[in-house]
Structure formats: structure tokens, C-alpha cells
């Protein structure tokens, strides 16, 4: 080897460049190894999620089926009376839509903005072909609703291909024709108590706001319950001799390996009014046959079942962190004069914070998107936002709103994750 090769510069190449070259092969191998998974995730996860979130902003239904009306509406200032040209465009579009059998889609779309307009579109479209100028009078003759500027405002809102309307809707705000926003109609809002005891106050919330709030509340409560129940278990597992702790670990993991559906339905068997728990309570005289408790098909049922199902997510990170804390720390604390409690609280517990953080964020984030359990045992007031997203996906077929709700949920989770990083620090987390 000559001395030139040990210099930083060699034949005009910098050390950094040569290092990159040398590392290229191993980088390429690493990339090729993860490539199948990367493609799988891109195709089955990232692309659908992005596509779906995109639906929350993008709705071409109206503008595609009603191009002439859309062009007219784009010119309209939303204040002045709709003129003859707008009516003429509308009639032309209605005729085309009826021929193409797409009028139902238009009716559904506008109906989302202004309820009760569905039949106005379908019946007018049936008669549109026979109408003659002046179209304004002719259309109002067919359906007097056409004289109401509100229906034109609804159409203008619907004609936006790119819209924030669905995201606003997900937060219980409605978009006006001029692009401003108003709150959801008072009739669709309820007064809700927020907080505990003296700190509670009443807020007037729309259904989505209420559901988001309830979802956060249930997730937070499940996280707290999991921590309270899981911490002692994890401590026991971490301190017992290996043979015993392995046996007990199986008891923690066994439910983990069982289908969520099985576990949830077995809670139905346990908690229903004629179920095991109520039977025992009656048997031991805690209550009588008429006073059986409602333990399921409400928020309590959701809380119990979700806490049970998510418990391993708390126990496992806690266990792995606790396992890594040598017993000499607590011994040292005691030898320095600390009582059992002080040694635990001042020395042991602070060292378990990474496990608490990991367990809590895991449970919370899984809980916030929970769907099957609240659907099965939640009844009316145990439903969470995912159940509503499901409703719009499968029942109302308002995918755009479902995307809006999902997008808001994603933003909330990401915000909480950011908050967690600021307060606890993501580096402080130990998944095990």
C-alpha cells in the first residue's frame, strides 16, 4: 500500500466519496432485503390510506355530472337572484343526468348539503326534457323549491371538486356557499357535561365532536386502568424467579393470542344481565333479581372489555423495562436508609417511566382507533369514532365524510404523539 492511499484525497476523490462507494454494496443489500416488505406496505397500507384521506378533500360528483351548472355556479356571487342562464344550464344538465342515469348521485350529493332536496332533483329531472324557455319560470312551476336561493347555495357548495367541507363536517362545521363556515344546526347539537365534579362545565357539541371527545375519554380511561392493573402484574413477573414468572407470563399472553372477537363475545357472556357476573351478584345477595346491573351494552361494557383486551400491551413493555432494573438499586436505596415505600417511589418507579410511557402510548393509540369491541359491547353510549367511520363506510356510503373523520382522528393521534414527545420524550420509550 502506498502512502497516497492513506491520504484524504486520492486521485481527486474525497474520503467521504470513497466511503460512500465502499458502503454502497452493503446499503444496496440492506435495501434489497427490505424491498419486499416495503412494496407490500406501500401497496396495501400507504397507498390506500393516502387515497382514502384524499377522498376527504376531493369530490367531483357534482361538477362531473353537472358541468354547465357548475360553470354557472362558479360565476355566481351567492347573493343575487339566480338568473335565466343558470336555470337554462341546470335544465340542460338535468336532462343529460337523467339520460346517463346519474341524477341519483347528484341528488344524494346535494342532499348532504341541504336535507330534503333529493326528491326535488329526481322529480324535476323526469320532467326536464319537456321544459321550454324561459326555464326559470318553467322549473319553479315543476318544483317551487327552485325559487329558494338555499338550494342554489347548496349546489354551489356541492360543485366544489376540491373542498374542505368534509373535514369541516367531521368537526361539526358546515361550509357556506361563499366558502365561509357555520356551526352545525342547533337541532343537531346536544349539551354535554365535561370534566369531573366541581370542574365540570356544560358545552354544546355536535355529534362528531361528542364522539371524538368520548373516544379520547374512553381511551384515556382504558390507559389509566391498564396502568393501574398492569403495573403490579409486571412488577410481580419481573421479580419472581424465572420458572414461576414464565408460567405467569403465559397467563398474560394466552388472552393476547386469542381472537379479539372471542374475548369480546365472552365478555358478553360474563357481563350481560343474565350473565355470570350478575348471577353471582344475585347469588351472594349484593343485588336482587330485579336489580341486575347494566354492565354491558354501555360505556362501562366498552371500558371493561377494552381494558382486558389491551392489558398485555401495557404489561409487556413494563415487564421488559422492569426486568432490566437490577435489584441492587432498591437494595442500595434501603441500605441508604429508605423505607420500602421510599425506595420504590424515589428509586424504582422513576426508572420504570420508559415502560410506562411505552405501554401508555401503545394502549392509548390502539384504543383510540378501537372498533370491534365498542361495536359489540358498547351499546349506544359506548360507541367510538371508529364505529361512526364504519357507519359512513358501510351504511350511509358517505366515504368522503368517513375520510374526513379518519383524517381528523389521524391528526389528533399525531398531535398527541407530538405532545408526548415534548413532555416525556420519545427516546424515553422502551418497547422491550
Amino acid at each position: 500500500m502506498t502512502t497516497a492511499e492513506t491520504n484524504i484525497e486520492y486521485e481527486g476523490e474525497s474520503l467521504k466519496k470513497r466511503l460512500d462507494k465502499a458502503m454502497f454494496a452493503s446499503r444496496r443489500r440492506a435495501f434489497l432485503l427490505v424491498l419486499p416488505l416495503l412494496l407490500f406496505v406501500l401497496v396495501t397500507f400507504v397507498a390506500p390510506v393516502l387515497y382514502f384521506l384524499f377522498q376527504g378533500f376531493y369530490d367531483p360528483t357534482f361538477s362531473r355530472i353537472m358541468p354547465q351548472t357548475s360553470a354557472q355556479l362558479a360565476e355566481w356571487d351567492t347573493v343575487s337572484e339566480p338568473d335565466e342562464a343558470m336555470y337554462a344550464a341546470l335544465v340542460a344538465d338535468l336532462v343529460d343526468a337523467r339520460k346517463a342515469k346519474t341524477i341519483g348521485k347528484v341528488a344524494t350529493r346535494v342532499n348532504r348539503e341541504k336535507a330534503g332536496t333529493r326528491s326535488v332533483f329526481t322529480s324535476s329531472a323526469r320532467k326536464a326534457a319537456k321544459l321550454e324557455a324561459p326555464f326559470k319560470e318553467a322549473l319553479i312551476d315543476v318544483k317551487k323549491e327552485w325559487a329558494d336561493p338555499a338550494i342554489w347555495e347548496a349546489m354551489k357548495t356541492a360543485s366544489n371538486t376540491w373542498t374542505l367541507g368534509y373535514y369541516a363536517n367531521a368537526l361539526d362545521y358546515r361550509q357556506n356557499a361563499d366558502g365561509s363556515y357555520r356551526r352545525q344546526d342547533a337541532s343537531r347539537r346536544v349539551d354535554t357535561e365535561v370534566g369531573f365534579g366541581d370542574w365540570s362545565f356544560t358545552v354544546n357539541l355536535g355529534i362528531h365532536q361528542l364522539l371524538f371527545l368520548r373516544t379520547l375519554q374512553i381511551s384515556l380511561m382504558v390507559t389509566v386502568f391498564c396502568l393501574l392493573l398492569g403495573y403490579p402484574i409486571a412488577y410481580l413477573l419481573a421479580t419472581l424467579p424465572l420458572r414461576t414468572s414464565n408460567l405467569l407470563m403465559i397467563l398474560v399472553l394466552l388472552p393476547f393470542w386469542t381472537s379479539i372477537l372471542v374475548r369480546t363475545t365472552s365478555w358478553i357472556a360474563m357481563l350481560q344481565s343474565q350473565g355470570v357476573v350478575n348471577d353471582l351478584l344475585v347469588f351472594f345477595g349484593v343485588t336482587n333479581d330485579d336489580g341486575r346491573f347494566s354492565l354491558i351494552y354501555n360505556k362501562l361494557g366498552t371500558l371493561i372489555a377494552m381494558t382486558h383486551i389491551l392489558l398485555p400491551f401495557m404489561v409487556l413493555p413494563l415487564f421488559s423495562v422492569m426486568k432490566g432494573i437490577p435489584p441492587s438499586y432498591v437494595r442500595a436505596a434501603k441500605s441508604l436508609g429508605a423505607t420500602n415505600w421510599t425506595a420504590f417511589w424515589r428509586v424504582y418507579a422513576p426508572q420504570t417511566i420508559p415502560g410506562i410511557g411505552a405501554g401508555a402510548i401503545l394502549v392509548f393509540i390502539v384504543a383510540i382507533g378501537y372498533y370491534i369491541t365498542p361495536a359489540l359491547v358498547g351499546g349506544q353510549d359506548g360507541q367510538m369514532i371508529s364505529n361512526f367511520i364504519d357507519f359512513h363506510m358501510r351504511k350511509s356510503l358517505n366515504w368522503n365524510l368517513a375520510a374526513g373523520l379518519g383524517g381528523v382522528l389521524l391528526v389528533i393521534v399525531m398531535f398527541l404523539y407530538w405532545l408526548y414527545d415534548r413532555i416525556v420524550g420519545i427516546d424515553n420509550m422502551k418497547m422491550g
Binding site: P326, S328, Y329, R331, A332, A333, K334, S335, L336, G337, A338, T339, N340, T342, A343, R346, V347, P350, Q351, I353
Partner: protein
Amino acid sequence: MSASTPLVRFENVQKSYDGEVLVVKDFNLDVERGEFLTMLGPSGSGKTTCLMMLAGFEPATHGEIYLDNQPINNVPPHKRGIGMVFQNYALFPHMTVAENLAFPLEVRRMSRSDREARVNRALDMVQLGEFGARRPAQLSGGQQQRVAVARALVFDPELVLMDEPLGALDKNLREQMQYEIKHIHENLGVTVVYVTHDQSEALTMSNRIAVFNDGVVQQLAAPDVLYEKPENAFVAQFIGENNKLRGDVTALEDGRCVVSTASGHQVQAIAVNVSQVGQPTTLSLRPERVLIAPQPGSIDNEFEATVLELIYLGDHIRARVALLGREDFIIKVPNSADHVAIRKGDTVIVGWQSDDCRALDA
């Protein structure tokens, strides 16, 4: 209570973990006030268990431990007031150095100003005055070690226990820390019970050493006595380098004996652990006490040996020789100006005083 009563007394202490095997068998020990006592032994010999029983982390299966004449078997660790330095220091990672040191003072409800004064004094004692605001992970191994010592001393305990505290340090640092701990002990007059498996560490620091093996104290003595007058074959072998010669006692008189080796030679020795003629015995002989080409007639053991191997070690030369039918006999030749020049393959006369050769148990 007179000052002469021992600070710690183990009385017939036994310990078993599984109810079948005794890891500590009938352990008796007095630790005097101000003493530096080391428990030395191979791993599994029960020395750490004894320390843990004294600290209160393991209950004794049988017997009683006294601290200042009070039985402490039922006193929980935090009420014993014993400072302890752990193997891996056990510095609380989520606290700064100063907070670590303040911890024992805080749990004793000492006022803030007293706490600060004491912490600063303890930090100065271990020359870490500037490091109070650091976390343990930001310190080197030697610095962590010093903090651990300071923390065990900051609340002025009468007794400090150290469980192989230097095990994780490299050789140079270990030697330096040995002196530092020794000096701290001398300056503070605190009583130290120290556990180690490193005999040179024990010899450097201790007033007395208890050599453990198999749950039993083999010998309890000052370092020089332990080295020069081992009472049994285990101690002779465990402390320092040792030549072993096996044989049978053929004559025994006035504390001296003659031992006949398997090769048929007769060796004069001091009778330490032999009581009758015909008994098998192990002769113990330190390598540095063997002389090469001694003045003829000046010493009572003289034999012919063949040099098998020479290793140059600077201050001395190690010679492995074939002698009395053994090929692992070591002689240390000091590298003095007038030392006898030997070469591999030479046949030389070697010899030793019978006073340096001890007949121990078989």
C-alpha cells in the same frame, strides 16, 4: 459498653437458599471497630452471602448477627444504618451525583443547608467537587466508583460494606482505587467489611482477611500472617504463589517433621497441620524462598533440579524446574546484580530452610 467490644459479631450463622445445601456453615466472626476486614474467597464460597446477611438483604437461616451488641436479625436493612458499596455501584441513574449523595440525608430528614454542606464535603473527599450536577452515566467507571464510596459514607455510618466494588475497573484504576479507599478508611476511622475474590486487593487494603472456602472460614489473620503462615493447603494455594509437594510424614518431633515424597526424597519441614507419623501431607513452599546454588551446608533442604523453562519478568525471573519428581516447581530468582545465571537445561542445586516449608493437610 467498652470500646473493646466488637462492632459486628456473627455467632454460629448458617445460611441455606434451598433448604438442602448450606452455603454458609457455622460462621463465627468478630469485626473490631475501625478495622478493615476483607472476606476473600473464590466465587460461591459464601462470602457475599455473609455480607448480604449483615446488610439485611438475606435472612440468616440459623444463628445471630450482632451490630454494636444488638441482635439485628429482625432489623430491616434501612434501620441498620450500614453504608454499602455495590458491585456495579448502583448509582441511581435518574438522579444527579449530588442528588445521589443527598438521598440518604434526605430520607433522614436532614435540613437542606446541612445536606448541601455534607454532599460538598463528601464530593471533595473523593475529589469530585465539580461533578455534582452530572448524571452517573456521564462519569467514567472510576468516577462512578468514587461517587458510590462517597454515597455510602455521606451519612456517617459506623460500618461500611463493600461488595467487590472494584471488579468492573481495569487494572491500573483498580490499584489506584485500592489506595484511595484505604486512605479514606484510615482518615475516617470507619469500619469496613470488604468482599473480594482478588487476593492482591485483599492484601493491599486489609487489616485482617477472612479466607472463605465452601461456606467455611479457612483462616482469619493479618495479610502477612496469611501469606507467610498459612494454616492449611487451601489458604496456601489461594493466597500468593505456592509450590505444592505431596508426601507422607515419616518423623515428627518438636513441631518439626520429615516428609518423604513419592520420588523417595526426604524433606525437612515445620509441622503445622500434621499430628502423627504416616499421615499424608501437602508441603507448602513459596517460590521466592527457594534458593539456587545455596552455600553448601547452610540450609537443611538441598536437592538437584533441572531447569525446564525461564520467563523473564523484569524484576524477577521465573524458573520452572523438575524437582522431587514434579515438573511444575516454580522458583523466583530476583533480578539482582549478583543473581546466579542459569540457562534452560542446566542442572542446579536448589534448597530452602525448613522454616519456610510448611507441612499442611493433605
